[in-house]
C-alpha cells in the first residue's frame, strides 16, 4: 500500500481506508461536519494520491495534442485545460487536467489510472518515435508531489494570508508560481467540490503547510467528503462515470465522452478541429447516433442510490446509476448515471433492493447554486 507524506498525521487523526492502493483518510470527525465545513466555511483535503505526470521536450505540445481530446495549447500565464484521454475505440482512458507550466506540461488525474495512463503515454511515445524523431520526456512525479486542496467560501482568505494571492483575480484553472517558506509551490485555482478554492502542488514535506492551513481555520476533510461534495456538485469521476473497460462484452459497451455529453459543453474538452486518438471512433458514433446520456437524479422518497442500481421508467430499465449518495445539504438521495431517456423535470424510478423509488431528473448541482457553490449570491 502506498502512503501519503502526511500518513502519520492522518493515522493519528482520521479513520483510514484504501483507495487506488493508497492508505487514505476517509474522515476525521464526520462526513456531515466536514461536508458542511466545505459548503459554509473552508475544508482542507490531502489529495496527494492524485497522479502527476510531467511531459517535456520540444515536441511535448504536439504529442499532447494527439493524446488529449482538448486543445491544450493554452498560452501562459500558467493555466490548465480539462481534457479526456481516449483509446482508439473512443473509450475513456482517463480524464484530468493538463497544466502548461512553461518549460513543461503537467498532467493531473485521478489515482486509479496512474499506472495505466503512464504506460499508455509511454506506448504512444514509443509508437510515435518509430515514425520519426520525437523529443518528448515523460516522468511520473506522483510520489514527489503532494497536493493539498483548500475548498469553500473561506478559501480566498487563506490564499490571501499565506501567499498574498487574491484568488478572485484568477480565472478557473489559472495558476501562480509562488513560495512557501522559501520553497517554490504552485497555486492553482481549482477543486472538485463545486466551491471556490485553490490547490497547492508542493514537493517539500507538506506537514508545516498543512498545519498552517489548519491553524487558519481550515477543517481537515477526508476522501468520503471529497466524494459527497463532488457528487453534490455533479462532477464525474474516473472509475464511475468515465471508465475504460478491458474487454467489451458487446460493441459500444463502454461509455464515451459523447455518452457523457462532454461535446455539448460551452468550453468542450473535445476539439474536433484537431487530430487526436479516438476521434475517428467518436465521429462514427456521432453519425450513428448517441443513445444514452448522463442523467442526474434526486430521490423523491427516502433512500440512498448506489452505483449499479437500475434506473427505470414504468418498470422498464432505461439505465444505471454510476455514483450515488445522500446529499448533506438537501438530505435527499442523489445519483449520477447513464440513461437512454429522461429530461430535467421528468420522473423516473431507481430500483433499490428490488423496489422502485421515485426520482426526479434534475440539472446539477444538487444544491441551490444561489446559496452554495462558487457562484453563490453572497
Amino acid at each position: 500500500m502506498k502512503k501519503l507524506k502526511l500518513y502519520d498525521w492522518h493515522k493519528a487523526h482520521a479513520k483510514l481506508g484504501e483507495y487506488a492502493g493508497w492508505h487514505m483518510p476517509l474522515w476525521y470527525s464526520s462526513v456531515k461536519d466536514e461536508h458542511l465545513a466545505v459548503r459554509n466555511n473552508v475544508g482542507l483535503f490531502d489529495v496527494s494520491h492524485m497522479t502527476e505526470i510531467y511531459v517535456g521536450g520540444d515536441d511535448a505540445l504536439e504529442f499532447l495534442q494527439y493524446v488529449a481530446t482538448a486543445d491544450v495549447s493554452v498560452p501562459p500565464p500558467i493555466s490548465a485545460t480539462y481534457t479526456i484521454f481516449l483509446n482508439e475505440r473512443g473509450g475513456i482512458k482517463d480524464e484530468g487536467l493538463i497544466y502548461n507550466r512553461g518549460d513543461k506540461y503537467m498532467i493531473v488525474c485521478d489515482a486509479v489510472a496512474m499506472e495505466k495512463l503512464y504506460s499508455w503515454l509511454m506506448t504512444l511515445k514509443g509508437a510515435a518515435s518509430l515514425a520519426g524523431d520525437l523529443d518528448v520526456t515523460i516522468v511520473n512525479k506522483t510520489f514527489d508531489i503532494s497536493l493539498l486542496s483548500v475548498q469553500g467560501p473561506g478559501a480566498h482568505a487563506l490564499a490571501e494570508q499565506l501567499f498574498s494571492i487574491n484568488i478572485q483575480d484568477l480565472w478557473w484553472f489559472q495558476c501562480r508560481e509562488t513560495e512557501y517558506k522559501g520553497e517554490p509551490i504552485l497555486l492553482s485555482k481549482s477543486g472538485y467540490t463545486g466551491e471556490n478554492g485553490f490547490e497547492l502542488f508542493v514537493e517539500i514535506d507538506p506537514l508545516a503547510l498543512w498545519k498552517d492551513l489548519l491553524e487558519l481555520g481550515a477543517v481537515p476533510c477526508g476522501l468520503a467528503t471529497r466524494d459527497t461534495t463532488r457528487i453534490e456538485a455533479g462532477y464525474t469521476l474516473y472509475g464511475h462515470e468515465t471508465l475504460e473497460k478491458q474487454v467489451l462484452s458487446q460493441p459500444y459497451d463502454e461509455y464515451t465522452p459523447l455518452d457523457a455529453g462532454f461535446h455539448l459543453w460551452e468550453f468542450s474538452p473535445i476539439k474536433w478541429e484537431k487530430d487526436f486518438i479516438g476521434k475517428e471512433a467518436l465521429e462514427i458514433q456521432k453519425k450513428e447516433g448517441i443513445d444514452r446520456h448522463l442523467i442526474y437524479l434526486e430521490l423523491a422518497e427516502r433512500g440512498i442510490p448506489r452505483e449499479g442500481y437500475t434506473i427505470a421508467k414504468d418498470g422498464i430499465s432505461i439505465g444505471e446509476v454510476t455514483s450515488g449518495t445522500q446529499s448533506v445539504i438537501t438530505g435527499k438521495g442523489i445519483a449520477i448515471g447513464y440513461s437512454s431517456e429522461g429530461k430535467p423535470g421528468e420522473s423516473v424510478e431507481i430500483i433499490i433492493r428490488g423496489e422502485p423509488k421515485k426520482a426526479t431528473v434534475v440539472t446539477p448541482p444538487f444544491y441551490d447554486p444561489k446559496k452554495y457553490g462558487a457562484f453563490r449570491e453572497v
Binding site: A224, I304, R306
Partner: protein, 128 residues
C-alpha cells in the same frame, strides 16, 4: 480503548449487541460498529417476523456504503424502533440507546454463543 462497550449486554462478531430481559431480546449496534460505519444516513428496519441467528436482519447505510445487520438470536421480531427512520444518526450519537428491534427469543441456549462485554472488548482490541 476508544470504543465504549456497555456491560451487561451480549455481543456478536458482527458487532450487534443484545440485551436480554425475560424472553425478549433488544438488538442494536455497538459503538465500534457505529464508528466504523461513519455517518449513518439510512436504515431499512427489520420486517416483523421470523429471524434466524446469524441471518440477515436488515440493512443500514452510511454515507459511504450499505452494510447488513445480522440477528444475534433466532426468534420473532415483535417491535422495531420506528424513530430511527427519521433519525438514523442517533445510532452514531449513542448506539446503545438507539435500539433497532426487539426479538421474542426462540431458544435461550443460543445466547451462550454470544460474547460477554469482556470477551467483546478483547475481540475489538484484536481488530484494532
Amino acid at each position: 480503548m476508544k470504543y465504549k462497550i456497555k456491560e451487561g449486554l451480549y455481543y456478536t462478531k458482527e458487532h450487534e449487541w443484545l440485551k436480554v430481559e425475560d424472553g425478549t431480546g433488544t438488538v442494536g449496534l455497538s459503538h465500534y460498529a457505529a464508528e466504523e460505519l461513519g455517518d449513518i444516513a439510512y436504515i431499512e428496519l427489520p420486517k416483523p417476523g421470523k429471524v434466524t441467528q446469524g441471518g440477515k436482519l436488515c440493512e443500514i447505510e452510511s454515507v459511504k456504503a450499505v452494510s447488513d445487520i445480522y440477528a444475534p438470536v433466532s426468534g420473532i421480531v415483535v417491535e422495531v424502533n420506528n424513530a430511527l427512520t427519521d433519525s438514523p444518526e442517533s445510532i452514531n450519537q449513542d448506539s446503545y440507546a438507539a435500539w433497532i428491534c426487539k426479538v421474542d427469543i426462540a431458544d435461550k441456549k443460543e445466547i451462550e454463543k454470544l460474547m460477554s462485554a469482556k470477551e467483546y472488548t478483547a475481540y475489538v482490541e484484536s481488530l484494532t
